[in-house]
């Protein structure tokens, strides 16, 4: 799992997306863009954000944010395991596995 809290850098100022912002977003997204992709993404994101800015004009003073319009009641179930042991089936899609575990490069030097 990629944890966003791993990244501590302060966010850059909001503006049209430049090289610095792209680099910051690459870190957040754990994605590295090629030179050409960087330029295109900066241009496209600036255009999209320009359009999205329109939302700023909507008066939302005192409006509570809405998350779940249809299901509002929390759903409970008994705290009982219902799944079988399917370790090997789950590991079958792993790019690399060993002794019933996912295999990754050494993480601690």
């Amino acid at each position: 799992m990629i944890r966003m809290t791993d990244i501590h850098e302060a966010p850059p100022e909001p503006a049209s997306i430049g090289a610095e912002q792209i680099e910051y977003l690459e870190q957040l997204a754990r994605i590295r863009l090629s030179g050409e992709e960087k330029e295109r993404t900066a241009r496209d994101l600036s255009k999209i954000l320009d359009y999205i800015e329109m939302l700023g004009e909507l008066d939302t003073e005192g409006v509570d944010p809405l998350s779940h319009p249809v299901t509002t009641e929390p759903v409970f179930r008994e705290d009982k395991a219902v799944n079988d042991d399917r370790r090997d089936a789950m590991l079958r899609n792993a790019p690399e596995h060993k002794d019933g575990c996912f295999k990754v490069p050494k993480t601690v030097e």
Binding site: A29, K47, R77
Partner: protein, 494 residues
């Protein structure tokens, strides 16, 4: 019976013919498989076709039908399903290099439902990568072509599903709809489709794009087929806690639905700047058909519609960047062969495994959620969502159904949208609203433009109003013939 005659039937007609012994399920399956063989080389609607496997399944279902052990309304009828819905033991790619070799260890709840109902799957349908697109061009497996004109897109992201139904390469299909991904391709391909009330259909086993918006739904040749197909997959599922109890659609009531007393609202904001005049004319004419059938039609203002696209893209991309963080090259999916360290595995696998549109939406999601921007974007979008909910609540006091265009234009040419993502996003301007607040919505064919490309009529109803929506759509289809036209007849009709 000849293949051609079988292929011209609706799904419900095929089911009746199988029950009465006029044809068999393997015969219907063979007919569909030959149509795929003949046409899909060009259309590219399928990522995977089950040849012998489908025939074997059809034979098994046929035996059960003959024994009287299966009496579901669509038993034995071949269907196809979008390749973002997990099928145990069968690759499920989501149209991405990331999942090119992913073989799900379990099936989606809807797939189990369909097995129980005696449905026969003929294949997995092409789509925009991770459903991120409105044209079915971003698939790692190549673009899907529109059966009406192969130089045009079929819409997206369920472009393979809509194209397969339009080209008679399936009797009905299942797609998924996050912001119009069922309705907009239905509009572009001249077929019918439903995005059900959020929670009516289990999302367990549907590969997540934006979980608060995603919903699986049917695509068919007419609305009655769609209703029968939807009935097969609804219901509460312990594996998806957002599911709600849903009453099946009564098909005979839907076939006898009367327009008298039906209150229809038409938001004038849906005919604002940017709509193709031919689309507007076809939609207005369709609305007029309803008033001739006894419905009262009233224009009203829905000014919040202006904020639909910004609200949608903030919510969708925010959820997508979180949902797609699971693709880390460790547990399943693509792993870069060049990665040396753990951190390299994450970054390089994602960079090599995702296409540019997916990367763009993940980064946009990260942007709107990042510290300092969260209130200005994500919180604002959720407030806008509350206002959209309020606007619809008010409208549905006065109207039973809202009608308007499904998309601002007919199908654009292949390649036109890729160079300008914002323009592509705007093609979803009418369809995203129901997703944002979970309302049911449908698209049915309502005309053709001068290039003979289909136009779609969008219907939006209150929560759980599928019965009324399907009834009204069936009434329209009993009174018009747009849904009966299909691509091969093009020359004769033009």
């Amino acid at each position: 019976m000849k293949d051609e005659n079988i292929l011209n039937m609706t799904a419900l007609e095929v089911a009746r013919a199988i029950r009465s012994g006029d044809i068999t399920s393997p015969q219907a399956t063979e007919a569909v498989l030959s149509a795929i063989e003949e046409k899909d080389g060009e259309l590219n609607g399928y990522i995977r076709v089950f040849g012998d496997r489908a025939i074997a399944r059809a034979s098994e279902v046929q035996k059960q039908i003959e024994r009287g052990a299966l009496d579901y309304p669509l038993a034995g009828v071949p269907y196809a399903i979008k390749d973002n819905i997990c099928t145990e033991g069968i690759p499920t790619t989501c149209g991405s290099k990331m999942l090119e070799n992913f073989i799900p260890p379990y099936s989606a709840t809807v797939v189990h439902d369909l097995e129980r109902a005696g449905a026969v799957s003929v294949g997995k349908l092409n789509l925009d990568e991770f459903c991120m697109g409105s044209t079915s061009e971003t698939s790692f497996f190549g673009p899907v072509k529109n059966p009406w004109d192969t130089t045009r897109v079929p819409g997206g992201s369920s472009g393979g599903a809509a194209a397969s139904v339009a080209a008679r390469m399936s009797f009905y299909a299942y797609g998924s709809d996050t912001g119009g991904s069922i309705r907009q391709p239905c509009s572009y391909c001249g077929v019918s489709g439903i995005k059900p009330t959020y929670g009516s259909v289990s999302r367990f086993g549907l590969i997540a794009y934006a979980s608060s918006l995603d919903q699986i739904g049917p695509i068919g040749r007419d609305m009655l087929d769609c209703a029968a197909a939807l009935n097969q997959i609804i219901g509460k599922d312990p594996a998806d806690q957002t599911t709600i109890d849903t009453v099946p659609i009564d098909l005979s009531a839907a076939s006898e639905f009367s327009g008298k007393g039906l209150r229809i609202g038409v938001p004038e904001d849906f005919f604002a700047e940017g709509i193709d005049p031919e689309v507007e004319a076809a939609v207005r004419k369709a609305v007029h058909v309803f008033s001739e059938l006894g419905a009262s039609v009233t224009s009203f203002r829905l000014p919040i519609a202006r904020y639909a696209i910004p609200t949608y893209y903030i919510i969708a991309c925010a959820e997508a960047c979180s949902n797609l963080s699971r693709y880390d090259g460790i547990k399943y999916g693509y792993r870069s062969q060049n990665a040396k360290s753990l951190s390299d595995i994450y970054v390089m696998s994602r960079s090599e495994g995702f296409g540019l549109e997916v990367k763009r939406r993940i980064m946009l999601g990260n942007y709107v959620l990042s510290s300092g921007f969260y209130d200005a974007y994500y919180k604002k979008a959720l407030q806008s969502k509350a206002l959209i909910r309020k606007a619809f609540d008010e409208a549905f006091v006065k109207y039973d159904l809202i009608l308007g265009p499904t998309a601002p234009s007919t199908a654009p040419r292949i390649g036109e949208s890729l160079s300008d993502p914002l323009r592509m996003y705007l093609s979803d301007v009418y369809t995203v609203l129901p997703n944002i607040v979970g309302l049911p919505s449908a698209s049915i064919p309502c005309g053709f433009d001068r290039n003979n490309m289909p136009v779609g009529l969008q219907m939006i109803g209150p929560y759980r109003s599928e019965q009324t929506m399907v009834g009204a759509a069936c009434l329209f289809q009993r009174s018009t013939a747009y849904h009966l036209r299909f691509p091969e007849k093009r020359g004769e009709d033009a």
